[in-house]
Symmetry: C2
């Protein structure tokens, strides 16, 4: 590895920061990891996220390869979100963070 770039903006940690640094992304991944979720479900469980922001963050997670978005062409429409392989590989980290957060704070 280029030694001078060990901590620079293209190191692994900063890539992670960019991918899951969004305000709600960790929680969203966590919720979707339990099982495939419909958009409406997510919206109901996270009432503090506006719908537009929810769409945006989900799409970013999708384009970063963490989420899969499956569209069912029905009436009414249905869209389901699930973890990709990459997202599943991130799960242990997510679990550790959740535990660390629950245990060590106040």
């Amino acid at each position: 590895m280029n030694h001078s770039k060990k901590y620079s903006s293209d190191c692994g940690l900063n890539k992670v920061q960019k991918m899951v640094g969004g305000k709600w992304k960790l929680s969203l991944l966590w919720y979707i990891s339990e099982e495939t979720r419909r958009f409406g479900e997510i919206k109901r469980v996270f009432p503090d996220i506006t719908q537009s922001m929810l769409t945006k963050q989900l799409r970013e997670l999708e384009s970063d390869g963490l989420l899969h978005r499956e569209i069912y062409k029905e009436v009414p429409p249905r869209v389901e979100y699930s973890l990709t392989n990459l997202g599943q590989q991130f799960l242990p980290i997510l679990r550790s963070m959740s535990e660390w957060g629950e245990c060590n704070l106040e």
Copy 2:
């Protein structure tokens, strides 16, 4: 746990997000985890962070209990940053994220 708050703004993951969500905090913790670091060292290794922002992020990490800040009253002054116990407990997670970031991106 309050079921309705399982994914709300005070769940473990969102606490983690607030604590280490800053643009440079993961990398800073990572660098300081290797050994105790002086302010000037950090500044040199992270030339893209302005000095004022560096101070701010370090202080936030300190007040969140992740970093210890030791001031030596010498001339010239010396300030050293190191991980607290809480910070050390976060290390495995940091390591996982770094590996995941290095391996799975591009």
